[in-house]
């Protein structure tokens, strides 16, 4: 048996977990959050919304089906660190290309395994998400100090770290077992005119783009700092505000631009996009104790009364009272009664806190992409 290298996770409150290194060696700092999804670790690793965070997976066996080059949500992993109970060295799946360990090493993601992830999760649940350091160094006091002095996410702009550098066109549809990702035909002139959508990239997940393509949108992705004027110049049929990492109050430039678009174009926002929209509408956001990260939260559509099982990944939430008179609550989280969706009272503008694009997680809410198409038509 190969002796594995020791690794430690030190939290800002002085709690230290000892485990083994299961990814790249070195040191990483980030806010420690837990994700309760049973499947989809590759999608989670590559979700730009995790910039600035280290994810602990609550399911103990991670890496069972390895990694592949399809199940990605962006071009590379963004998590600052990865925390598991057991990283599987012998994956089994017809699409598997690499083990989770190989993947993490290649992508230079620091990861720790063989710790009591449930104890860690309970700790975060009761004490709140906090900064942590994963390291292969044994100087624990230094690690705790480092975690303690690390700045958190509040007020910071993490979007600029993950957004694209320049605009690009998106041409990929949804995945099927038989054919992999669909190629969407480029817009040809004439009868089949597609709806033009500008997607603000605050850290967008590919599956949002794939879903927009799938419902017939011609999508152009633009950097987060793109001005409202530039967007309007492109004469789109609608604007999409993407998910992304960190605190919405850290991206004031985005809020400013969105303000100018409300009432001018149909808008659909997801997650950070939903929070930015809320701020643009004059609302407030606040930090949740440990956020929502998983694929099993029930959300009620207040209009139909139906419950959707949703994918969640956010540490901040919108205060609905702050939007009184401007927007109405459309979706409610049944676990903690937080805001999950709003709609502008006058304009074709709506957003959800959760992730209808799924990936990973249930696809109960994909209908929202069609709804976006409806309000653009």
């Amino acid at each position: 048996m190969v002796k594995k290298k020791k690794a430690f996770l030190a939290l800002a409150d002085g709690t230290v977990f000892e485990g083994v290194s299961v990814g790249a060696q070195g040191e990483a700092v980030g806010e420690v959050v837990f994700n309760t999804s049973l499947t989809g670790y590759e999608e989670i690793l590559t979700d730009p919304s995790y910039k600035g965070q280290m994810v602990v997976m609550t399911y103990p066996h991670i890496g069972n089906y390895g990694t592949n080059d399809e199940d990605i949500e962006s071009k590379r992993p963004w998590v600052e660190g990865f925390i598991v109970k057991e990283a599987c060295p012998y994956p089994s799946n017809w699409r598997c290309k690499e083990t989770i360990g190989e993947y993490l090493k290649r992508a230079d993601v620091v990861a720790i395994g063989d710790i009591d992830t449930r104890a860690l999760t309970c700790h975060i649940r009761s004490e709140g998400a906090m900064m942590g350091v994963i390291s292969t160094s044994v100087d624990l006091d230094r690690l705790v100090e480092k975690a303690r002095s690390a700045h958190g996410l509040v007020g910071f702009d993490l979007v600029k770290e993950v957004t694209c550098e320049k605009p690009y066109k998106w041409n990929e549809g949804l995945w099927t077992i038989e054919h992999g990702y669909a190629e969407t035909a480029p817009v040809t002139s004439g009868e089949e005119k597609k709806l033009r959508v500008i997607a603000y990239d605050y850290g967008i997940k590919f599956n949002i783009l794939r879903n927009l393509s799938n419902v017939g949108c011609d999508v152009t992705v633009v950097p987060a700092s793109t001005s409202a004027e530039d967007v309007l110049e492109m004469k789109p049929d609608g604007v999409f505000l993407s998910n992304g990492p960190g605190d919405p109050e850290g991206v004031d430039y985005a809020v400013k631009n969105v303000k100018k678009l409300i009432g001018v174009l149909p808008i659909f926002g997801i997650c950070l996009g939903h929070q930015i929209l809320s701020l643009a509408l004059g609302g407030r956001t606040f930090k949740l104790k440990f956020g929502h990260h998983g694929g099993n939260h029930p959300v009620k559509d207040l209009k139909s009364g139906k419950v959707e099982i949703t994918v969640q990944n956010h540490g901040f939430a919108v205060d609905i009272d702050s939007l009184e008179g401007v927007a109405e609550l459309t979706h409610l989280n049944l676990n903690d009664r937080t805001v999950e969706g709003i709609r502008h009272k006058e304009f074709p503008v709506f957003s959800v806190q959760y992730h209808p694009e799924a990936s990973p997680g249930p696809r109960d809410s994909v209908y929202l992409f069609k709804k976006f198409v409806e309000i653009m038509e």
């Binding site: 048996m1 030190a10 002085g14 709690t15 230290v16 977990f17 000892e18 837990f34 309760t36 999804s37 049973l38 499947t39 989809g40 999608e43 609550t58 399911y59 103990p60 066996h61 069972n64 089906y65 592949n68 199940d71 109970k85 599987c88 012998y90 994956p91 089994s92 017809w94 699409r95 063989d114 710790i115 009591d116 992830t117 449930r118 104890a119 999760t121 309970c122 649940r125 624990l140 006091d141 705790v144 100090e145 995945w175 077992i177 998983g294 694929g295 099993n296 939260h297 029930p298 009620k300 139906k306 419950v307 099982i309 049944l334 676990n335 799924a358 990936s359 990973p360 249930p362 696809r363």
Partner: protein, 1114 residues
Amino acid sequence: MPKRDDIKKILIIGSGPIVIGQACEFDYSGTQACKALKEEGYQVVLVNSNPATIMTDPVLADSTYIEPLVPEILESIIKRESPDALLPTIGGQTALNLAVRLEENGVLERYGVEMIGARYHAIKKAEDREMFKDAMKKIGLLVPHSGYARSFQDAARISETMDFPIIIRPSFTLGGTGGSIAYNKEEFEEYVRIGLDSSPYSEVLLEQSLIGWKEFELEVMRDTKDNVVIICSIENLDPMGIHTGDSITVAPAQTLTDKEYQIMRDAAIAIIREIGVDTGGSNIQFALNPDDGRMMIIEMNPRVSRSSALASKATGFPIAKIAAKLAVGYTLDEIPNDITKETPASFEPTIDYVVVKMPRFTFEKFPSANHVLTTQMKSVGEVMTIGRTFKESLHKAFRSLEIESYGFESKLSDTDVYGPDKDNGSEDISNEGALNIVREKLRTPNWERTWYIGDALRLGISIDEIYELTYIDRWFINNIMEIIEFENIIRLKDSHENRDEVLSGLLKRAKKLGFSDKRIALLCGMKEDEIREIRKNMGVVPVFKRVDTCAAEFEAFTPYLYSTYESPFYRAGKSGNTSETDGILECEAAPTDRKKVIILGSGPNRIGQGIEFDYCCVHASFALKEEGVESIMVNCNPETVSTDYDTSDRLYFEPLTLEEVLNIVEKEEPFGVILQFGGQTPLKLAVPLERYGVKILGTSPDSIDRAEDRERFDRLLEKLALKRPESGMARSFEEAEKISDRIGYPVMVRPSYVLGGRAMEIVHDRETLVKYMKHAVKASPEHPVLIDKFIEGAIEIDVDAISDGKDVVIGGVMEHIEEAGIHSGDSACSLPPYSIKTDLVEEISKQTKAIARELSVKGLINIQFAISGGEVYILEVNPRASRTIPFVSKAIGLPLAKLATRVMLGKTLKELGIVKEVIPSYVAVKEAVFPFIKFPGVDTLLGPEMKSTGEVMGIGVSFGKAFAKSQIAAGNVLPVKGRVFISVRDEDKKAILDIARKFCRFGFEIVATKGTARFLEDNMIASEFVNKVGEGRPDIVDRIKNGEIAMIINTPLGPQSHKASYSIRRTALVYNVPYFTTIAGARAATYATASLIEEDLDVKPLQEYHKMGSGLHS
């Protein structure tokens, strides 16, 4: 939507007796449903023929009918009760089929009963193969190609659209006779011919084989608002081709990417909508091609199932309870999650542990049955375990099975491994013979296959080859590989000098891999308690984690716990110096400081130890609660009510081994432990637990030993001047021979300390004794063999009594219908006795009391007596809860197990108001139910070894009526006209006359074999002559097959005649003709037939019977 108020009274149908494929999971679901509906204020009417269930406890429903589950009886109940609705989805396939019949014959419409949960059309669509196929096609899902062929041409045409291999299943043959797999055209043609020939209707089902595909299951729930959630995903370790009930299964699914899982999830949601299950749970099975991810739908069960019970226990989400609430109109978001309290049930549970379910087989009871696992279920029970990793859970599952497995023991003997010439310990283990054995065991599915994978890995067979032989996913094999590799590391430490020190370094890792102390001890040549001590000294102790439905995202308020070994974490001290603090192991047990008692459950169901013991454990738990004592349940059987987190104050889902029980005891520090309710499982732990200083409540282990140890037992009887058949205990063959010669043949032989009559046999001569002692049981000083004089033709009596150490009150005296020599669990019995005289009954009561007093029994005691020639003999004394406790409790209307628990806590019977025996003014008959139909080639003849899986109860004002009901409930529908076939041995000829005359008088015709016919004629009874098998055709078997025989009375001679009459019994079984192999049984049948002819079978709820009053008797 709130609950419906247009319905007030709801009928729930249970699943009847425990049979293979339908076990106590439906008691769990039925109990939950009853509780949930009563809680909502509905009146609940319950029907079930199985008295051993918790659901038939009179407190759980407003009206409880213990009546046969047949349409006519159901109609009578519906007529009497006029329920508004029928909930058919809780009682397994039995209830679903009955509901369909009631709809089809117009009963539901006639009495205005609405089906809730699943409606008729949805059930039909899910159950009818063709309709289901069409439905799947409609929503774009794939099903395996299949088609029915009634001719060779048909078959050829259907096969054109299929890929080989093709499975050919003849229709209407039981046990899969004539079925085969064709890999090419030539084989196909041959097998179709054979198949058409062996089917009575010349019909075969052709089905595309999915050999090598992986199997998955999803548990789905839907409400009236069309909200759908997936409760649990399950991956079968065994691939397609092995019944899911016989497969090792794992939750959650392990080897699916999110993309694949979501495709499966979407399919499940589409299916439940398309089939149209209005509300409640469904189980959907999928096959997945491991090479390209292609998915096919295998089947859907539009009801709660074995898997849903498992899913409920695996996640903490109570599917049946929620299903019941959804059926009356609630939506998922209106129902709170019991465990988190704050969040609603409209979510998908997520878990942070791995659940393994493993089936329990009892092939040792049916040596002549085919042991290969196929698409027909053969297991009789199951265990479930929870651990943080698959390796830990699998290890725990092994020891939960109670088959003396504590890890990956080798299934190979030294000769297998090393060859005959090699010295033991040789390094060369690549012996061809061993490799061949292992390869064969991997190729052919069998229940020991997981252990053989361990052997294969030890022999150096590659993971890829193991996969090719088994189609078990490499992920599972690799996990096993990790265990086997670590075994070698532990083993190597054997030679080290500083063994303890090295060992202690390894223990941490070993325990995380799930190794038991016992296995570690074996691997390094030490004793279990030594390992335990070293381990505890170095702080390698388990922690307990909670099952909370949400992977710790929300706080859990329900102490539903499992043990695991985890890594510690550290907290920086005030100085900020982390390295100096001790590690903290997070344990969520949080024991209270209340007075508490631990109840040890009975583990997996098996023949001889089933639901009856779970019933007693659950009652113990209820009684503790009522006494204000905290109840703590330990058990590992996912099917049961005892492992419902709702049943006890705290639930530990753990194997019932000394190691695990001690861990819990050390954590909880209970006032005492109750182990007299769980059958042999906990009883085995009595002495070791006491040695560790654990207080055993109730009858002392010493008293138990006085009853179990034959020599001490003899002294006890001597002291009380009570009689028992002459006997002796043999520690060698020579002793056995000597004893048998002394007491005279026939003798009853058996190993000591067994339950269910395991390896018990009646031996008629010396030759058979030699065979028994040489092959069946090897006697040794530690494992003596008991030899008793077998009293032929005796009436057997079972007595259950309760005692507080001073006073003893008889619970019930039961007269067996089959004579002594047939295992009491397999014999029908009547309470009160129907043929023996009062003075004998009184004598039996007197003796029972004397024994109970002498043993200072605190709790329950069961004694078996034999009556022969007006003398009473004691056969066996069991100072614990017996299999008949639930039956007796229901017959007399007193909850004996509950009362016994209170006695164990120190109450006297007087204080509890129990001073007199209750003798009902009606008759209750218990009848056993057998699994023979599932085991082609197995003789149905009964003997001292128990074979039944379940029981039913019939109640009536007369013995005849009660017996008739018990027969109908057990599936032996007694005829009221037709031909009775009689063939009896000479000793029985005189006795048969009266029976034959009665049947003539009832209007039956008699058919008899030569000897019997002549004897009947001599006694003026007309009969038609029929050939015995081998005397010429048509013979009796032909006539049974032609449907010309309505009932069979055939008492076989000795073992020789057993073979001759085997074909009659087997044919009768397959053609469902009632048969009796004893005069006593035949006589009982005459009473029943009379009752069936003379009057209607009326129905009455238990609650009314209990009010009918009783003849009180001191």
